[in-house]
């Protein structure tokens, strides 16, 4: 199919979202930092935010690699 790689890339994005969700629940969920009194929720959020940003950057980097692999080969970009 002429546009098969596009559908394949969308499917890959979907799989990465599901895997990202699993990582978020398994890694982000259990993070709980205490001992800083009223700052606990803020510190928890900052740490979770940093991990989430790291995961998002990783997600974008994987997508960028896959984009190059799939589309450069198929469309000669």
């Amino acid at each position: 199919m002429m546009h098969g790689p596009l559908f394949g890339f969308l499917f890959l994005m979907w799989v990465l979202i599901i895997i990202g969700g699993a990582i978020a629940v398994i890694i982000l969920g259990p993070i709980s930092i205490s001992g800083y009194g009223t700052f606990d929720p803020w510190i928890n959020s900052i740490v979770k935010g940093a991990v989430a940003i790291g995961l998002s950057i990783l997600w974008v980097l994987i997508l960028a690699k896959m984009k190059n692999l799939i589309f450069r080969k198929t469309f000669n970009f």
Binding site: M2, I18, V25, G29, S45
Partner: protein, 330 residues
Amino acid sequence: MTELIIPAVVSCVVAFFTVYFMTPPLIKYLHKKNLAVKDIHKPGDVMIVRPGGPAIIAGIITSEIVLYAFLQMNEILAILITSFLAFVVGYVDDRKTMGGWFKPLGLALAALPIIFLGAYDSDLAFPLFGAVQIPILYLAIIFFMIIITGNTINSIDIANGVASGFMVIASISLSAALFILQNYEIAIASLPLIFVSLAFYKYHKIPSQIFPGDSGALTLGVMYGAIAIVGQVEVIAAIALLPAILNSFLFLASVKKIVDHRELNEKPVELTSDFKLKSTKNKKARISLVRLIVANTALSEKEVGNVIFKLALFSAGLAIITAFMMEIRI
């Protein structure tokens, strides 16, 4: 559930016919005011009026007010006010072209009613694995979601009828997901988005009589994002939007900065002598979804639109599968 049928039917009828009957006089008015732009994919100097945003927001406001009269939920108010603020941001950009920073900042402000009305839940739900509690971080997600959904729908407005047609498909899958997850009130609040988009598609489909403009595209996208947040279906909503997200991703991966597409000189696609779209040979031009679609063969504007609709249907299917997966726990 049965008590929701009448509000659902009335709001859908109001949404559809407000846009259906308001758009023709709006087209006449915009012609009279000479608010038209050249349709670059057509031979000759075909001028199309814009923006169609006022008709779209009228349909959203009337239908959501009807729903609020029946249900009196803060979530409906949040959807209504956020969509209206996005319309204002888009309308300002339609009338006076603003810098690349304007829309993200404006849309971030448009997200505030969701927070002030408390129309959100700070748990972020994922399929198969459950939810994460992120009380403060979720506030950032609200801003992020509204900015992303508004801008991605705006950026997919690349051919006649694509933005509104894409929105019909994506919002049907969003409503279906909300029904599957038994979030009936928000599912009903999401129905007007389908009917507003459908009514506007009648005038926007190829050959377009009117373009939605930033005011129309941002309003549709932001309403979609607001429904996703208040309905707690953020991940499902993102999946249904994947073709539009892919388009934005390709744009950012090529350009590597936040900039309005109007500020870029190198065009990713060119027109053939018979007015088909083909990929440019210019290596400096950015990669876009349309460029990938026409990379191997030149296609007419209608054929490009049909490929995008097929991609949207594929993503809508994935979104509905994801909704069923939300009920399963590993």
